[in-house]
Symmetry: C2
Subunit: 347 residues, 2 copies
DNA sequence: CGGCGGATTGGCAGCGCTGCCAATCCTTGT
DNA sequence: ACAAGGATTGGCAGCGCTGCCAATCCGCCG
């Protein structure tokens, strides 16, 4: 280990020091362009009619003055804002940045801006953040999952703001719902493992009380096993968010505690990757000695020496779809994007 | 592969259908509480003085009416907004969600909201997004790196909005700069490899024209090699963003083209992980046959069967520090958070 | 018991922009 | 040449909330 500390350089010269002259307003532009305020407004929004000459004058004035429209004022004066609030539980698990990515790309194309908030998987925080976001009078809100505090639901309903709930369709939504069935994903995973001949199947998961979608997969998985006349051969829950580390240490703990496991279903790919690393380090042959199955279909799983058996979820698409529906003010609906089982080589 | 499509369920019952009554305003609350508007405003912001009895009346009225303050109006009426714009190049590379995480956590604690924008490593897009964000009159802007279009710089300076530039300190900043020296990181990496006895060192990177920080590391790396009397034994650039995939296929290509390489410096950990996977798949002993060195210090690198040799960067801290400085309206400054070289076991 | 100074309150003018409406200007058609 | 009718424009009242200032209240001192 080596610690590097660079020298502190003197503060850069900045315009910050310049006299804070009064910001340029629409009225200034109007005066400069010798036209009325409403005309400037029309030109800037390309809304309504005006002559080419007027447009040129206004644009020249805007450039000369360095005018930047004030959307705060614009939003207050008109009706809806061009803001969409996005509430996600975490930024650590790559699925949420993926969701954000899909959403921001789509919103950006429609001229909307995203305001984000992170709940850390805490429904009380979610409620507070939703309340806070609503005070910006957003055109819509994107939240994760279908489970919310009663207070959160009440606020959402009362606000009249459009809401899209993402990444889960197992339950009742409030308005727009975009995702896939986590329960069905769990079932499909179990059936796949059973179909491949595994019988001593264990589960390795993270904190399911906070991650309701992982809990639904778990339920579906167990249900499908039961249909096949099987039960879990073992189970380990790490009381923390999912991580590669939890997967690695968790698998070690699971195997130390439970004998004869021939396959492990992980709560997601991060956990599974950790498990795979454990197998590599411990010299456990995959999948002969132990089969691994994940969830999410991350790139990293596809690129492991042996591609990870997993389920690929359309998270980017979910974000994009939700953004599109919200910005188009589409009617309430449930969009099932489905998922895809990737057989891989670890099971 | 198996494709699952769940059934389309009927749209959920929603309050969306309810009559869109006029939203509750401050004036409504004032009337309901039988006090003046300014009094309600003071109570809600706990600003100024008012009696306990008044507070109770107002709070009761707020609860009864389900009033949600309109921050758009509040911001317009007062001066600064409680919004901070965050401009990042990507959400795919985990370092940016990490940065976001640090920033949103700190901002949230100060009652600020984050508006995000993603440039896809395109400086023209950055300029457009900065312009767009500025129209929300944010209290501050967080951008990535020190290199921007002249237009971006002009807009930023002209706006008078506080700006924090993150993740790099090799160059001149506009206002607040929080990060570490990428160049020094590259140098430290080279010196480490040289110190460990490697002499035939190659570089495997991604698109450096867009990722200026990676380019600085590359420059520092080469410079330090030169000081040791060495040059790159080989080099491969994938003309795309960094990814595990690019690292894996890139390393294969690099080794096919260049003989005798004993160590590879990757543009970051994602690339290095891909390279490690290639080694595992190809049966190349690490580090005996080939040493690997990354950049970023991702968790996944620490958990590989052999911990990745890399440099851990304080990205979450950078986000948090920038957020704190901006929300405190601190003076312009350069904060060097340094970095830490992690020797690992792959080099 | 009158007066004083701090504690509470209410009134109201904007913040900068948009929506609506009336006023003007130009084109055509006849 | 004249009027109808569309194309352009400008004026101005808010949007909902905050900041400033004047008006009221109250408790306590002399």
């Amino acid at each position: 280990m080596e610690d590097h500390e660079g020298p502190q350089r003197p503060a850069a010269l900045t315009a910050r020091d310049a006299a804070p002259r009064r910001p340029v307003t629409l009225a200034d532009v109007a005066r400069e362009a010798r036209v009325g305020e409403s005309t400037v407004s029309r030109v800037l929004r390309s809304h309504g009619s005006f002559s080419a000459r007027t447009r040129a004058q206004v644009e020249a004035a805007v450039a000369r003055l360095g005018y930047v429209p004030n959307r705060i004022a614009g939003t207050l004066a008109s009706t809806g804002s061009r803001l969409i609030g996005i509430v996600i539980p975490s930024l650590t698990n790559i699925v949420f940045p993926d969701l954000l990515r899909g959403a921001t790309a789509a919103l950006d194309a429609e001229g909307f801006q995203s305001v984000i908030a992170v709940t850390d998987y805490d429904q009380d925080r979610e409620e507070a953040l939703v309340a806070s976001l609503l005070s910006w009078r957003p055109a819509g809100l994107i939240v994760t999952g279908l489970e919310h505090n009663p207070g959160t639901v009440r606020r959402l309903m009362a606000s009249g703001v459009r809401v899209a709930e993402l990444l889960d369709i197992d339950g009742r939504g409030l308005d727009i719902v975009v995702g896939y069935s986590n329960r069905a994903a769990g079932e499909a995973s179990a059936r796949h493992l059973v179909g491949r001949g595994y019988r001593r199947i264990a589960y390795l998961g993270h904190d399911l009380t906070r991650d309701r979608r992982a809990a639904k997969r778990y339920d579906g998985f167990r249900a499908a096993l039961a249909e096949a006349g099987l039960g879990l051969a073992g189970e380990e829950r790490i009381p923390a968010p999912s991580s590669v580390e939890a997967g690695r240490s968790g698998l070690a703990a699971l195997l130390a505690r439970t004998r004869g496991v021939d396959a492990v279903y992980f709560s997601n790919d991060d956990m599974a990757l950790g498990g795979y690393f454990h197998c590599l380090a411990a010299g456990l042959a995959v999948p002969d000695r132990l089969a691994l199955f994940g969830y999410n279909g991350l790139d990293v799983g596809r690129l492991m020496p042996q591609p990870l058996a997993t389920i690929r979820t359309p998270r980017v698409e979910a974000g994009a779809t939700a953004a599109r529906l919200l910005s188009a003010d589409a009617p309430a609906t449930v969009v099932d994007l489905g998922f895809e089982l990737i057989a891989g080589a670890t099971a």
